[in-house]
Structures are given as structure tokens and as C-alpha cells.
Symmetry: none
Subunit: 192 residues, 4 copies
Amino acid sequence: MPKSQERCQEIREETRNLIIKKSVLYFARHGFAGTKISELSKNIGIAQGTIYLYFESKEDLYAEIFEISDKYTRSEKLNSFAKLPITAAMKIRMLSDYLIKSLKSDEMFSASIALYTQRLLEGETDQSFYKTLEKIIKEGQKEGSVVAGNARKLSELYWGVVYLYAVKNLYTTDYAMIRSEDLSRILLEDRK
Amino acid sequence: MPKSQERCQEIREETRNLIIKKSVLYFARHGFAGTKISELSKNIGIAQGTIYLYFESKEDLYAEIFEISDKYTRSEKLNSFAKLPITAAMKIRMLSDYLIKSLKSDEMFSASIALYTQRLLEGETDQSFYKTLEKIIKEGQKEGSVVAGNARKLSELYWGVVYLYAVKNLYTTDYAMIRSEDLSRILLEDRK
Amino acid sequence: MPKSQERCQEIREETRNLIIKKSVLYFARHGFAGTKISELSKNIGIAQGTIYLYFESKEDLYAEIFEISDKYTRSEKLNSFAKLPITAAMKIRMLSDYLIKSLKSDEMFSASIALYTQRLLEGETDQSFYKTLEKIIKEGQKEGSVVAGNARKLSELYWGVVYLYAVKNLYTTDYAMIRSEDLSRILLEDRK
Amino acid sequence: MPKSQERCQEIREETRNLIIKKSVLYFARHGFAGTKISELSKNIGIAQGTIYLYFESKEDLYAEIFEISDKYTRSEKLNSFAKLPITAAMKIRMLSDYLIKSLKSDEMFSASIALYTQRLLEGETDQSFYKTLEKIIKEGQKEGSVVAGNARKLSELYWGVVYLYAVKNLYTTDYAMIRSEDLSRILLEDRK
DNA sequence: CATGAATGAGTATTCATTCAT
DNA sequence: TATGAATGAATACTCATTCAT
């Protein structure tokens, strides 16, 4: 009984996904230059040559990886929160909850944040997600719930902290995360 | 007529320092794997071979660089602030002032922080400076000036933000830094 | 479909042996410092990188090469001759026959002798094979078949001549070897 | 009182001779490829640059060194012995005496022999001194004092042994040399 | 499709040579 | 002259990529 066309396709898809999944973590941890195909393939558990059946080159793989992390990060979540008919403070708390939960439960999420920010720092990608948060911050400042200050810088600060914990997650698996409240507090006025 | 012993010593010292100074920035920006000796030496303005007159290998140079950044970071400042007969809140404000000023004016400082934290994340160095800040935080929590929460995590958060801005400094020279108050606010209760 | 484990093992073994075989000759001819990996690999007919799939470094390869030549030279032959129930003179003639034949027919033998002696001169190896011959010489001197003189020095002289012809073999392929009798004569009294 | 022209010349001559003397030994021991200018100059006790005040290049120095060893080896002695109105056996004994004495007392002599033979093996020089000995051997064979056999090969054998002891001298300073008789015996029939 | 041995361009390191002092 | 720091071409070694099986 020969494998059906679909089964083949399926296997290909599986292997491809395996490579991507493992590579996201590997690249996030070691960076582009620090990642050797020989080590990566060992880590994935396949032969070096196999990677080249699915990706043209190391750069191609990295680009793909980055696309993934980009999507992950660019997540509709942030936009969906922004559009809800609730206070800015609520939006920020929901966002923080969502982020902390994702960082805790999903290694890929951490890796994506890490990769994305690495490229961000190198100025190689746009900064769209800063923008959305900026708007929420300005809203909150009008409400009086968000601390005073340049909205852009506050946005950067917030994302910076998220990045930090993402990176920590990659290196120390059992890392004790900050609580959602601590993250929110970066933006929100202390409630009295 | 041979060069005088002292003059030679002097020249060696100068070249060695030049290499270190430029390398701190270069390694901080590109990481170990991303740094090519050929590019580095070009950046320093010397021949490739010259580096090997002063350092055994790329790894040796990196280790030395790290020692330097370690000293820089382990700076007595933090400890000296800790010992002053002032409130914890004051200590935190002084520390923040000092850090923001240093980040702004001294590229080496940013690079050192960046390198140090990179290795910290990889768990390859001790975390002594967390400790000192932890103590100040606990003091502040007793005073009621520092926000509630696990002192260790707050300390990590604070240093994390410093790291973030250090890294930003390395990539974008004209980066608009947060203000000292924004940094302090990570730990201090909002004054009402 | 992956290559079978055995076939891979086989290929590795073959390549490894090819490298060793050619390297013995190359190092024996050019010495360690005079051997360039680029030239050696060209001589072997493989890429430079391939050598590093089998050996850690040039030094590692050289050490391995030397191990081989050591085994070749430490050959059981000498010991087996020594134990035969025949006169010392006979032993010496058999040894000489064996050596001259080996030098003539087996380039590896010449190379091994050359390498071994090079290191011997540098005092980097033991001199076990001198010892066995020394015993035979002393036997022969009692029999009256071997010339008078310090047994150790005679042994050295004998091996020195063997070395000489080994080296000559490496440089001039069609070299006219001395006859076995000429070699034996270094130790044996002229028969009248 | 300025140095006189002659004194200057003298100093130059002295330094030049020092370099040559030390280099002969160094090259003889390490070979051309194995000799590093940095090590050599350290061994001589001068700066690297100084060598280049006296010699154009490493190759130039080696060539000069070789000239010296050539002269040493090509020594008139051999020819002068050949021309004496004495038996071939006597000539061989005188030659052996002379060689053993020189090897024992003059490190430069050993080095010269070593260097000369190294190049000889590589076929890079003529073999004039073989010729002279060959003639003596043929004389001796007519006299009945020299063993039978191809004169050229016997000559090579004789010189080979001399080379061997020269090399040994270079590596082990207190080496126990063979006696002049042992050397002569390679060519001479045992006297009964 | 998968493998891993082989390749060779790229990178690290050495060493003969130069040159400012 | 003599020095030794600096140079860069030559050499050792690595690693992304290819290819025969």
C-alpha cells in the first residue's frame, strides 16, 4: 500500500514544522551568527542536509522564522484589545494578562518576542506594535489612569520589559515571571 | 638606538587600551559569533595581526572585554549609594540619576551593561549587583516608599530596563533616553 | 533513504586510511613545519576541510601518523627473530634481509622508519628496538660472529644505516639500495 | 672620540658572524620551514629586525648558512688526504680520525654536515665529496684493504654514518660518539 | 525524502618583513 | 645601528552548502 499523496504532503508539513519550531528557539537563543547549521540540525534531530530540502539557505530559514515571530507578535490580540469598548486601563490589564500568560505557557511566544526585538533593535523591521500601544496610552492619560510622560517612550518601556522576560524564559526554563500587575504598573497610576 | 623601555611599555599600553575600548563596543553590538576579527580590526584601525600581539585569540579578547565590563558594572557606585545615611527612596533616585547620566554620556558604560547582561542571561556570571539593590528595595518597602512585591523580581525588573536602554544606545546613537524619574518610578510608589 | 550505517562506517574508514597513508609519506618527506594542509590535501586528492572531519588539527594528524609509524617500526618481526633457536649471526642476516626487502617494497615502511627516527633524534620517544638488537649483538659477540665494540653503539650504527636508506627511499624512488649483506656486515665479522 | 671606521666595520662583522654561527645550529636542528625568525632571533639574543640589517630575507640567510656548511664540508682536507703518498687504508683512517675529531670538538662542523646532507637528500646540491671518497675506495679495493662492493654505495654508506652522528650531536650534546675505528671499519677489511 | 561525507569559500591565526623611533 | 611594534600575505581551521547513495 503506497503512501497516498496526502500522507506524503502531511509528512513534509510535519518535518517542516518541526524544523521551524526548533529553529525559532535556537535562533532566539543563539542569534543568527551564533547558530551553526550543524548544531541546529543536531538539536532538531535530523541530518544537516534535510534542512536544505525545506529551506534554500540559513538566511532563508531565518527569514521564515522571523516571519513566524512577526505574525505571533503582530498578533491580532493587541488590535482586538484596542478596539474593545472598555477603559484604557482595562485594555492595558488585559494585554498584560495575555502577555504574561503567553510568556508562561508558550515557549514559541517568548522566542518570537525575542527574535522580533533583536531585529527591532537593529532597526530592520517596522515598529507597528508600538503604535497601537501608544494610542492606548494616550487614551489612558486622558482618562487619568496612565502615568504622565511621552507615550512613545512609555510604550517602549513596556515592550522592553516584555522582551526582557521573554529572553529570560529562553535561558532559564523555570524562571519566576513577574505578575501581570507588575507589568501593568509600568503604565498605570497607582490606585489609591 | 633602541626605543626606551618605558616608551615601548607606553605604546603597548596605548594600543592595548585602544583595542579593548573599541572591542567592547563592537562585541556588545555584534555579539561574539557576529564579530569577525577582520571587521573588528578594520573598525579599530589596525592590522589583524596586531590584535594577536595583545591577545591570544578571539575568545581571549572577549574574555578580557568581559572582565572590563564586569568591573565597570560592578562599580563601587552602587555600593557607595547603598551605604549613605539617606532614605532608600533617595538612594534609588541617586542611582537612577547616575545610571541615566552614565548611559547618556559614556558609550563604554552602555556596552559594558549590554555585555554583562548578555552573559548574565546565559547564567555565566554571578548576580552580585542584584543583591545590593534588593537590600535597598527591602529598606524602601519598610519605609513605604517602594512598591510592594518580591524584592528580587523588582530588582531584576529595574536592571532589565537599564539593560534595555543600554542596548538601545548601542544601536541608535541619538536615542531619546527615558528620564531618571521614569526609571525610579519602576520601584518607587507614586507620590501623592 | 539514508545510507546504511555499515556503509558509512566503511567510507569513513577508507577515507581515514587514505589520509593516513598519504600523510605518512608527506610528513616523512617534508617534516611537520614543512607540511602545508593545503598542499597535503591536494596531494591526497581531497578538500582541505575533509582532513578536519577526521583529525582535530595538523598536530593531531601528525601525532596519529607517528603512532602508526611507531607500530610499524616496533614490529613484532624483530622480536620474533630474536626468539628463534638459531645463531645470532643468522638472526642478523634474517633481520637485514627483512629490512632491505621492506624498504624496497613498502614505501610506508620507509616513511615510518624516517618519522620514527626523526622523533627519536629529538628524544621524544623510547628506544625499545635498540634494546632487542643489543641483546642479539651481545649473543653474537660471545659466538665470535659479531665484531667487538660497545653493543649499544653498534646497534645505533646499524639502525642509523637503516634510517639513512629509508630517507633516501623517500626522496629518490629508484634508489639503488645496499644489499642485505652490506647491512649485515656492519655487525658481522668478515668470514674468512 | 668617535668610533673609527674600522671599529664599526668590526662590530658589523662580529654581529654578522654571531648570527651565522647561531643560525647554522638553529637551521640544522629545525630545518628551514621549522625555523621561525622570531625564535631564531630570541635564540641569538638580538631583535628580529636586526637580522634584516644583515640579511635580505630568511632565504638569503639560509643560503649564506648553506654556503658556509658547504665550504666546511667540501673541506680541502678530504682532497689533501686523497693526494698523500700513502695507502688507501691509511687515507681512510686519517679521514675517519679527522671526521670523528671534528664532530666531537666543533658543533659547527656537525651542523654543517647536517645541513649539507639535508640538501643533498633533497637533491639540491652536487655530490662532489662522494666522488673523492669513491676514488680512494677503488684504490683500496685494488690494494685489497677495502671491502668488495659498489664503490659509490660504500661511499654513500660511509657519509651516511658520518651524517648520522652529526645529527645526533645536534640533539644530544653529550652523545657518546663511535670510535674512529668503527667508522673506518665500514670500508676496511677486518685485519687478521 | 533523508542521510552524512565531502566541498571550498570564509574566517581565525601565524610569521616573515617593514618602519618609526 | 638596533629595537620591537605593526603589517598583511600565507596558512590553519570552520561551517554553510552540495551530492552520491
